[in-house]
């Protein structure tokens, strides 16, 4: 829907983005998913109640019912507050990675896709820091073979996508592709990667307001942010190790924008707090 200005302001050239770069059309897309919860897209949409059933969901019920999630590579050690029956049978991390690659190839064949993109919209995993297993592609392969604890499920999905030559986008705050080994795999495979953590709500507002304060050189003493959420995202974040991953992603932005090193009097002592509360009535 967005336009892009070309040339000088007076030229009045503002075509739609999709008319000037060759984007795939929405009607050319097909959707698939992995999910430990076995609900079809229709069941999930009705149960979550985000969209209006009569206005939004029923008119496309046929398509939504056709989207059945594939069994997930899931490990509760990395997402403790989540469980579901639609998971691949326990095996080694190498077995799971290969099973995901097989899923990708079968999906491509079943839907006659020319191209695929994998995008992670999964729940937040526990906080992990980059370690030796993440430093290069060889170490990553060895860690997958060794069933190393530093390889969470999200990395198996990313690994599977990159090895199949597919772009991978990380919409969650989990470590996943934010390590040298994944950047190396992407470079070798010639595929783009990007992440992490969709900027959809509170941080979106923060990254608009903070530049305003800085543009006027208005000092800041503190910024208190609280997130009250009652959906499954909130439930997962009720685990301190998962919320730590999320809070880390949210905390960095102010320091980068306000440059306290350049403006110590204005921004040298900002108290930035980020809290996340699980509150089921606000689902």
């Amino acid at each position: 829907m967005s336009t892009i200005r070309l040339g000088n302001r007076g030229e009045d050239r503002a075509p739609l983005v999709r008319d000037v770069v060759p984007l795939a059309g929405i009607d050319q897309l097909v959707f698939g998913a992995w999910d430990p919860v076995a609900d079809t897209a229709y069941d999930a949409a009705v149960r979550c109640g985000v969209l209006d059933r009569l206005t939004h969901i029923e008119p496309i019920a046929g398509e939504l019912k056709g989207i059945e999630p594939m069994p997930a590579a899931f490990d509760q050690n990395y997402v403790r507050r989540l469980d579901g029956p639609n998971v691949k049978p326990g095996g080694s991390k190498r077995d799971l990675a290969e099973a995901l690659r097989k899923d990708i190839r079968e999906f491509r064949a079943a839907h006659s896709c020319d191209r695929l993109v994998v995008i992670c919209c999964a729940s937040t995993e526990i906080f992990l820091e980059p370690g030796p297993a993440h430093q290069d592609a060889g170490a990553l392969e060895a860690a997958i073979d060794a069933n190393d604890a530093s390889i969470p499920p999200s990395m198996l999905y990313a690994y599977a996508a990159l090895r199949e030559g597919l772009p991978f986008i990380n919409g969650a705050p989990s470590l996943t592709i934010d390590v040298p080994a994944m950047a190396e795999l992407a470079g070798v495979a010639g595929v783009p990667i990007a992440g992490k953590d969709f900027k959809s709500g509170q941080t979106l507002v923060k990254t608009v307001l903070a530049p305003m304060l800085k543009a006027r050189m208005l000092g800041l003493r503190g910024w208190y942010s609280t997130n009250i959420l009652g959906n499954r995202d909130g439930e997962v974040l009720d685990d301190p190790d998962s919320s730590r991953t999320k809070e880390q992603a949210k905390l960095g932005v102010l320091g980068h924008m306000l440059q306290p090193g350049l403006y110590p009097q204005l921004y040298g002592d900002v108290h930035h707090r980020v809290r996340i509360s699980y509150y089921p009535p606000r689902g």
Binding site: L6, V117, P167, I177, G195, T207, V208, L229, A249, V253
Partner: protein
């Protein structure tokens, strides 16, 4: 001075358009031969992943300018502020 924002929203409705944009742009990037970390997509992320040594940009409007200038470059147009 105090600013209070009460942003009551449905996160999945805010996230869905990001999913579409990112899938379409990732596919475009691949066809354009752009491999590895795509810093120009920072616009969509809280914690943008960057190449080693690159400076993180969080200001939404600077991020949008980077996104648009990458698209302009892909179509052979000049960068704009």
């Amino acid at each position: 001075m105090q600013i209070k924002v009460d942003f009551l929203c449905r996160d999945s409705i805010l996230a869905a358009p990001l999913v579409f944009d990112l899938v379409l742009f990732a596919d475009l990037a691949q066809r354009a031969g752009l491999a590895g970390v795509q810093g120009w997509l920072s616009f969509y992320f809280k914690s943008p992943q960057l190449l080693p040594g690159a400076h993180a940009e969080h200001d939404l409007f600077i991020q949008r300018a980077e996104l648009e200038n990458t698209l302009r470059a892909l179509m052979g147009e000049e960068a704009r502020p």
